[in-house]
């Protein structure tokens, strides 16, 4: 929506009336957070695959952690709002891409640390699981089905805490 609600003025009719470069857009996207984790940015989660900004037309390509994730439309709405917060005359299109496929390795070290503060961990390269609470490797898999499609449930035998694992 790039039509001014009060005046009906459609900025999109005038090319070049709004502009932003990809750096501006990426900066704005940093402030878009996972709807479930209010402090983790979608950029750090590795959801942002591409940003194209040409003549006031911004296209953001995102990849979902899981297809069927119930947060997709909320994230897309938040992305459009963030882009238009740079300049409300910008036209923003969000595309959910089917490739590449999201994998936990796309997350930045920042996001991994933030997730650990929620007792959510990533598997190590060798498949090992390190407990984010006590640091031991005494974590056993309990259930493939966790509270969301992207997480399974484990248990740390050392400190006796449940641990969720990104799938």
């Amino acid at each position: 929506m790039n039509t001014d609600e009060l005046t009906g003025f459609d900025a999109g009719l005038f090319e070049g009336s709004a502009s932003a470069d990809t750096g501006d857009v990426l900066g704005a996207l940093r402030a878009v957070h996972d709807p479930e984790y209010p402090d983790i940015s979608i950029v750090d989660l590795g959801l942002v695959e591409s940003v194209v900004a040409v003549d006031g037309q911004v296209t953001v390509g995102l990849i979902p952690t899981f297809s069927g994730c119930p947060a997709l439309s909320m994230i897309a709405g938040d992305v459009r709002a963030a882009v238009q917060s740079i300049d409300h005359a910008l036209v923003c299109q969000v595309e959910w891409l089917s490739s590449p496929v999201w994998e936990p390795a796309r997350m930045s070290p920042t996001a991994q640390k933030q997730l650990e503060s929620y007792t959510v961990v990533l598997r190590g390269r060798d498949g090992s699981l390190r407990c984010p609470v006590c640091g031991s490797f005494d974590v056993s898999e309990q259930s493939m089905a966790g509270p969301t499609r992207c997480r399974s449930i484990g248990w740390c035998d050392s400190c006796r805490n449940p641990v969720e694992v990104m799938r």
Binding site: E36, T119, V120, R160
Partner: protein, 310 residues
Amino acid sequence: MRTLAQSSVGGRSWAGRDDFQAFIDAGGIVEPGDDMPAEYRNEVFRFIEFHANSELMGGLTERDWIRHAPGLRLKQVFLAKTQDEIGHAHLLYMVAADMGVKTRTEMLEDLFSGRSRFHNVFHYQAVTWADQVAIAFLVDAAAFASQRAVFAECTYGPYKRILKRIVSEEGFHMRHGEEMLLRLATGTPTQHEMFQAALDRWWWPAVQLFGPDPPRGDIDPLIRWKIKSKRNEELRAAFVQKYVPLLHSYGFEIPDTDLSQDADGTWMPGEIDWEPLQATMRQGGPDSARRIKTAADNWSDTAWVREALA
């Protein structure tokens, strides 16, 4: 707010109850390996078991509405919410079972035979889709407020860690609740009426969810052990203060003829009849029997899966 430092694996012990209370008062977090007083263990266990039961019973209700949710997107939302609640129940039962008071199976069997309790709101029937919206918008909000107040202090480490995720995930549910309410509030007159009828059914259960305060002079042991950070009455007042103006702004009426506003503009509910809440605690709510039976049937129908996995 207490912070969660690295967990202490080794067991700590305290000379007596005063010593333990001093540890709690100084901001200490209790871990599973600690030699906690039996009273503390039992209170915390009961509280987590109640929470786990409520997540499970709530999840089963939401599951029943997946088929009825209008449109694919809302079906997807309900599917995800169901998975969320059942996942939360799973995590909570793991932590509760680890406390050594009851096994997970004992907790489930107590729940399905009506021997243990769960939140009052899951003892009522959701009649129409609008009831589901009222639950998402109002009841979830009340549950969220009380969970957030538990998370703020919560001296039992494993429970506090789960609550951190539950609270952030419930925040996501709230957004869905608001979205669904907006659709009905701005919809046709029939949709507006449907939500008003649902509000008439769910307002009081939501207000009662926080429970009464203990008699004046008694100290709630959950507050003394810093499991809860706020009194029930305080949480209820904040809830009423937030939701009365919000619902009024959408043109809905609160089904409380004695609702009033004091000189500062604070909304005060009429006198609360606690009998309906007490009835739910005896499994005598309007829909208690059917809900418990559904959950129990579910458990017995899936016995073969547990046997196959054993």
